[in-house]
């Protein structure tokens, strides 16, 4: 059951490959006021972490191991990943 929730959510943000190099770290924790979307998390990260401005404004993203659009909702405790263009194989 999904509860939209109010208050503040703490989101673990993970960065990979070129994005991790650009930002100089592989993860960050950001707080967002609920309700919030993945796009809000990206904006918050870019505001709070200086080098995160180097990230695209609309990166490919996943929540809890699943690709989502930037308007997908996040909950407290979610893991949001920002994924550089996939080069699998």
């Amino acid at each position: 059951m999904t509860v939209t929730g109010t208050g503040t959510a703490t989101i673990r943000v993970r960065l990979f490959a070129r994005y991790a190099e650009l930002v100089g770290r592989t993860e960050a924790a950001v707080s967002v006021a609920l309700p919030a979307t993945v796009g809000d998390v990206v904006r918050r990260l870019r505001d709070e972490v200086p080098q995160a401005r180097a990230l695209p404004e609309r990166p490919l993203a996943a929540v809890n191991l699943r690709q989502v659009k930037l308007d997908a909702r996040v909950q407290d405790g979610d893991e949001v990943a920002l994924l550089p263009p996939i080069a699998g194989g």
Partner: protein, 156 residues
């Protein structure tokens, strides 16, 4: 039953991929055709001296996404038996980064399901490649298969 078996193990490895092991996973008396795809690190005329590619991944998501991808293929080709392994770490030119084996009663299904899996890997499995060159440079590969204009040494 096959999926349950596969779920006990990882789709990822840091060692050389054993094609024999993959073929053993899919082989079945009822299957007359097996299609295998091997993706290998290339150092062709367009690559300008690639000695190796460093593969990194969002590993937990790779496992989850491969399970979903194989389930999608199972749904489309119910008689196909599918095994896939993706290697991570530094892979020298000429060695395989991915191997997919699909056995099926008839060859059309084997070819189609194998092609489907590699196309979906390219689209949805979160893996990234950094080409390491003979001159010491390193370049992230963009999804079109060509290096990006962002040499990693600018950001390292």
């Amino acid at each position: 039953m096959r999926n349950a078996e596969l779920n006990e193990m990882s789709y990822l490895t840091r060692s050389t991929i054993s094609l024999d092991a993959l073929l053993a996973e899919v082989s079945s008396a009822a299957c007359g055709g097996t299609c295998v795809f091997l993706g290998t690190v290339r150092d062709g005329p367009d690559e300008h001296g690639v000695t190796a590619i460093e593969y990194s991944a969002y590993e937990e998501m790779v496992e989850a996404e491969f399970a979903r991808l194989v389930a999608d293929a199972d749904a489309r080709w119910p008689e196909a038996r599918i095994a896939v392994r993706h290697r991570l770490g530094t892979i020298p030119s000429g060695e395989a980064s991915i191997a997919i084996a699909v056995a099926a009663p008839h060859r059309a299904e084997a070819f189609e399901a194998c092609r489907f899996v590699i196309e979906e890997v390219k689209r949805r499995i979160p893996v990234w490649k950094k080409e390491l060159r003979v001159d010491g440079s390193a370049t992230w590969v963009d999804p079109s298969g060509r290096p990006t204009a962002h040499p990693s040494d600018l950001h390292a």
